[in-house]
Symmetry: C2
Subunit: 148 residues, 2 copies
């Protein structure tokens, strides 16, 4: 068997696995993965309901975990993957942690950071959006439909 | 002896005590206090250096702690005091937690949230700034001078 192609879609699929796990736990289905030199060093999904903690978003927990793993406040040479456009809190956290690159799946016009300002990330952070966007968005849509 | 007057200055002085503790630990001196019906339910100071975690800002830790204390994701009837204008990450966290009121000491033109957007807090959140601003700012200034 060939080794998997370690591209954006591959890592976003890992994010989707985290997001599905969140949905199974009754959490808003968002997953985040942090990759350093093709190695996954952190993975997390929303846990705000379980912890009664609105800071327990996937990105924040993945950042804390990656910083702990690296022993560094800066996520140099890291890419953060997240299934949905980060909220303004998570975008601010990404600003401080300075991953080299951020990749998200679906845009989030209501709660996404870009509603407030597109300048929140550190200016050197590279951004890619729209990776597996339909799958990422569909997971959110079906979650909220099921909760009605 | 009379009971202390439980006003904004009183609670901001508790925030300054937290901020001074941060400085003693080599952390950027910012402190946060959350008050619910005149009772302090959370207090925290920056711990980013000790934890190597850029999410360990005073406000975020105070919010997590207060939500845990109240058993609620929403900080209804709570006031969050913080010595320095929140950064964009903490402002986003305040948006999700929805304290009734936010009070800060000194503005922070470089890293404060209002540089990006003044609309980040939930629209119903009441805001007061400038409480003991000189003392809050002086603590930051002398910290950075001492680190040069």
């Amino acid at each position: 068997m060939n080794a998997p192609l370690l591209n954006d879609e591959y890592f976003m699929r890992l994010g989707l696995t985290e997001a599905r796990q969140a949905a199974e736990e009754g959490e808003i289905p968002i997953g985040a993965i942090i990759v350093c030199n093709d190695k996954v060093i952190a993975r997390a999904h929303n846990r705000s309901e379980a912890l009664l903690d609105t800071t327990a978003h996937a990105e924040l927990m993945a950042i804390t975990s990656a910083q702990n793993y690296l022993g560094s406040k800066f996520l140099t040479d890291c890419t953060l993957y997240v299934t949905i456009e980060p909220c303004v809190m998570c975008a601010g956290a990404i600003r401080w942690a300075r991953p080299t690159r951020v990749v998200w799946g679906a845009d989030e016009p209501k709660s996404g950071f870009s509603r407030f300002s597109k300048e929140i990330f550190h200016p050197k952070t590279l951004i890619t959006s729209g990776v597996l966007a339909d799958e990422c968005a569909e997971l959110m849509r079906s979650f909220f439909v099921s909760r009605r």
